[in-house]
Symmetry: C2
Subunit: 165 residues, 2 copies
């Protein structure tokens, strides 16, 4: 690689399948939000809504929840290296997205909670707490890093997601 | 926990030691940067400079490097859950920081590279490439989440780091 070459490759079905699989497998994510105009990264429980959209379950007391209520712009990183091998060669996916809160009194809440508990059974300990809410993400774009020299820009359609309205 | 309670606890030596240990042990991190005013999160190789400051080794071709050259505001998340247990109960540390690039022609580069290779031996494959550079972080504040109900705001001094100049 030289300074002038672009590391971005044309998106193919292999990249689409890898990216979708990273979202399917993820049970947590690193989330980036804006706090006073600066990025702030923290860890959140991650899953997918019944319609496939990225979903997180968070407490209103958390820094990221307060930030998202002020500015819904967010980024989510999924694809964890685990304990073996070089972590920088492990595939990971960055989602650029906007958050919408689903509170307890939302008609969609019950179905979302039941769906969430199937993949996150330990969440039954706190999912009923008054300060816990879902944030559902509308994805605007994504970046897949499949390891050195394996970078792709993806659209919501590449991930099987609807375009943001 | 109720909606009105603060989950932030007074910082103690146990919290300082836990946070410092998370930085010592980390070999990679999730970094948040600003791209067109929105947060973007990706994965980077992470270490510490000879003076203890957080340090990353990145390619100029990466999205995060381009973003940091435009705006040095960044956030770094360290503390990986590994493969066992509930990932949301695993301690993690968020650093709020500003990046300064250390390029190949910088007088500090050689010492930094030798120091880096001791903890990241596989980096010898690419550390000499012209597009790889260090970004050194000046930490302005930190947030430690030691698991549910174990949250702390930390200063640079709590982490054994100098205050930003």
């Amino acid at each position: 690689m030289t300074q002038d070459s672009s590391p971005i490759r044309p998106t193919d079905d292999e990249a689409r399948a890898l990216a979708t699989g990273l979202m399917d497998d993820a049970r947590f994510a690193a989330i980036g939000v804006l706090v006073d105009g600066a990025p702030m990264v923290s860890r959140v429980a991650f899953g997918r809504a019944p319609n496939g959209a990225p979903l997180i379950l968070i407490s209103s007391l958390s820094q990221h929840a307060k930030a998202l209520r002020t500015d819904p712009a967010a980024s989510l990183l999924v694809g964890e290296p685990g304990d073996k091998g070089d972590p920088l060669t492990h595939p990971r996916l960055t989602l650029q997205a906007r958050a919408a809160f689903i509170d307890h009194d939302d008609p969609a809440y019950e179905e979302m909670a039941a769906h969430w508990l199937r993949d996150h059974p330990k969440a039954k300990l706190y999912i009923g707490f008054g300060d816990f809410h879902f944030a559902l993400f509308s994805v605007t774009g994504a970046f897949l890093n499949g390891g050195f020299g394996q970078a792709f820009f993806l659209t919501p359609a590449d991930l099987g997601l609807s375009e943001p309205s």
